[in-house]
């Protein structure tokens, strides 16, 4: 009977039911969509960072920022033996050069040990990030007759898919090809840039690879350069055997580097000694991150220590504007709409009770207890809340589905990569062709928690309205039943 009365009242007062339910539905849908989008941009941010720093990395430690030009830079420097001269007088030049990133100083490898020993540090690993630049080109013999010969040679650049293309030079042609190389500790798998990747072919580096001339390549880079497992890649003039390909497991984004080689090999090829450019640190507990950060800062004073949230704030591009739009405007908008919907529900329920003064008075006069009347009112508004919640859920899920079908892409440019890839003095910015802005597909992931919360919100909004209405109904006197007919 309870349900019959409830159902009849709600269907008999469709207008009120519809308005209250619609208000709540809009609010709930907004909450769901905003929530999913918030999770989506957070995922995108994590993804953007993971591709660079790996999963499980709570803190990164890098060398201090360096003024451009401080290290004088190194340029291609072709000596007498820099090329081979063909019989027609054309000199073919090819030189591979491996160097550390210009923007920052390196850290002594002992820093890794220092950091590992700190309290609250679960693991730490160092990596050396390098850029390999290969200059290749042909230089014709200096023509005595003003270069007519050179005209015939122009444009016959080697069919290399170098990113920057070749430029004619007095009839010669050049190619500057560069890729990033990351020297990693092959024994550490849990933290660092390779902790977030999946091996698509071959194998990952392991502890036995220390000192070996082996490399793992980013799958995208390998594909675009026609490289495969079993082949070799030239790093700093040394052929490295390709043992595996990796790709970012979470997304369409590229991995942190084009080529991964054992750290000790990288150090000796680059001739930099026992140094690393970044230390990846995992804290024992999430709560301990801040403490570990300050510990490291005092233990390694010249280094720059960044937490995930520091890193997140360095992510630029439309991702960061989307994040602030959704987390600020979206949250406030959904709170506002929810508040309006609840107030609306309360007012409608209260005025509904007022309109039904005689009805509730009569029910009390024929013996209904206050509790029973309150349950009726609260039940009605709770069902209104549930209807609103169900419609809101449907709209919200539809919205999420639409977002996931449209799958808008947003660009994310982790600032740290740019700093690492920037050109040095005298050099162009050719190195930044790898790893700059990544397009990340924005998804709106649906968590069961959101569904539960949405239904909970709807029911509690109904309960709040029911509480107000019930309170008013409880105060009605049964004598209202006898008031003359309006």
């Amino acid at each position: 009977m309870y349900l019959t009365y409830l159902r009849r009242e709600l269907s008999g007062r469709t207008k009120q039911t519809a308005i209250v339910a619609a208000g709540l539905a809009i609010a709930i849908a907004l909450v769901i969509i905003v929530n999913a989008l918030t999770a989506g941009v957070r995922d995108a941010q994590t993804q953007a960072l993971e591709s660079v720093y790996g999963v499980g990395t709570d803190l990164t430690v890098a060398g201090a920022q360096q003024e451009p030009g401080e290290d004088g830079g190194s340029r291609f420097d072709f000596g007498e033996d820099g090329g081979a001269t063909a019989e027609d007088g054309t000199t073919t030049l090819a030189q591979s050069q491996l160097r550390t990133d210009r923007g920052r100083t390196t850290l002594d490898a002992a820093t890794v040990g220092t950091i590992s020993a700190l309290d609250g540090v679960s693991s730490a690993t160092g990596a050396l990030s390098l850029t390999n630049s290969t200059f290749s080109g042909e230089l014709p013999e200096m023509p005595a007759d003003g270069g007519t010969n050179a005209a015939g040679e122009a444009g016959s650049a080697p069919a290399d898919d170098a990113p920057q293309g070749g430029g004619g030079f007095g009839g010669g042609s050049f190619d500057v090809d560069s890729f990033t190389v990351l020297g990693i500790d092959p024994a550490v798998q849990t933290v660092g840039p390779l902790s977030s990747v999946s091996v698509t072919d071959g194998r990952a580096l392991d502890a036995d690879d220390a000192g070996q001339n082996v490399a793992v390549l980013d799958a995208t880079y390998a594909t675009s350069n026609d490289l495969a497992v079993g082949g070799t890649v030239d790093v700093g003039g040394t052929a490295m055997e390709i043992v595996g390909l990796v790709s970012s497991s979470s997304s369409s984004t590229d991995t942190a580097s084009n080529v991964y080689i054992p750290l000790d090999v990288a150090q000796s090829l680059a001739g930099v000694g026992d140094v690393v450019s970044t230390v990846y640190v995992q804290a024992t507990t999430a709560d301990g991150i801040a403490a570990v950060q300050s510990e490291i800062e005092s233990a390694v004073p010249d280094a720059t220590v960044s937490s995930q949230s520091d890193l997140a704030s360095t992510v630029s591009g439309s991702l960061s504007s989307a994040t602030s739009l959704i987390t600020n405007l979206g949250t406030w908008l959904s709170i506002l709409v929810l508040a309006v919907a609840v107030v609306l529900a309360v007012l409608f329920t209260m005025s509904g009770v007022s309109r039904r003064t005689r009805e509730f008075g009569t029910l009390k006069a024929i013996g209904w207890s206050n509790g029973r009347v309150i349950r009726q009112v609260a039940g009605e508004s709770m069902v209104q809340g549930l209807i609103g919640g169900a419609i809101g859920l449907a709209i919200g899920l539809g919205g999420i589905l639409a977002i996931n079908i449209i799958a808008p892409t947003i660009s994310a440019a982790p600032a740290a990569t740019e700093a690492g890839a920037g050109g040095g003095p005298g050099g162009g910015r050719f190195a930044s062709t790898v790893q700059t802005a990544t397009d990340i597909t924005l998804s709106a992931p649906l968590t069961p928690w959101v569904l539960v919360a949405a239904v909970g919100l709807a029911v509690s909004a109904g309960l709040v309205a029911g509480a107000f209405g019930g309170w008013r109904a409880a105060r009605l006197s049964p004598a209202e039943a006898l008031r003359s007919v309006a």
Partner: protein, 240 residues
């Protein structure tokens, strides 16, 4: 203005009195104005009586019926229904009395417009905690009693005024109350419908149900076994 006579002889009748009122007064405080619709009502009503209460508008008839119906408590005086002290009972106790012992019929029918006739009747059984089968039987019986067995699924809007009032009477009698109270039950009805309701009330009284009916209508009063007049806050018996 009225002398309270708390002395009432309880042994002057064969039937046991169900209501006993002595010196019952009711005062309403409305902002600065004080209204005293009842100043000293002494009254006994025996089981099986058909009592009408007449009197001028604003004379306090509805107020008295509210007290008899356990909707409200008197400001002063003693008042019992059976063994229950209505003057001192808690709200919960008054609610229980209303649920079990009193059937109420209103001038405006007071049916719930969204519910059918049988659902409306069922509303009166809601506080009794009966099982569903018993409720169904009682609802059907009550509707049959008022001659509306074939209208069980009609909503109030689909029934005539007289039929609506019969549904209201069915709702009041389904709980098998000790007394049926009615405030101007024919006030909203035309003559033929009025007689229809009066016949029904008469039949219920013949079956032994105690009736207390407030009315302006002398046609109603003619059917009564006992006629009371409420004037200037006190009750006067005008039965000849």
């Amino acid at each position: 203005m009225t002398i309270t006579r708390p002395h009432i002889d309880p042994t002057d009748s064969a039937a046991q009195p169900i209501y006993r009122l002595a010196g019952v007064a009711k005062t309403y405080q409305q902002k600065k104005r004080v209204v005293k619709p009842l100043t000293g009502v002494d009254l006994e009503i025996r089981g099986g009586d058909f009592v009408t209460i007449q009197g001028p508008t604003g004379g306090g008839k509805s107020t008295l019926l509210q007290l008899l119906g356990a909707l409200d408590r008197p400001t002063s005086g003693r008042m019992t229904l059976g063994d229950t002290d209505l003057a001192g009972a808690s709200n919960t106790a008054l609610g229980a009395v209303r649920a079990r012992e009193i059937g109420f019929v209103f001038q405006g029918f007071n049916l719930i417009p969204t519910l059918t006739a049988s659902e409306n009747v069922d509303m009166g059984l809601e506080p009794l905690g009966l099982d569903a089968a018993e409720r169904r039987v009682r609802v059907a019986d009550a509707l049959a009693h008022v001659g509306l067995a074939d209208r069980a699924d009609h909503r109030p809007g689909e029934l005539s005024g007289g039929q609506q009032q019969r549904v209201a009477i069915a709702r009041a009698i389904a709980k098998r109350p000790r007394v049926l109270l009615a405030d101007e039950p024919t006030g909203n009805l035309d003559e033929s419908m009025r007689d229809e309701i009066l016949d029904l009330l008469q039949a219920l009284n013949d079956d032994g149900l105690t009736l207390i009916v407030v009315t302006h209508d002398s046609a109603v009063a003619r059917r009564a076994s006992r006629r009371l007049r409420l004037e200037k806050g006190t009750i006067r018996d005008i039965t000849r």
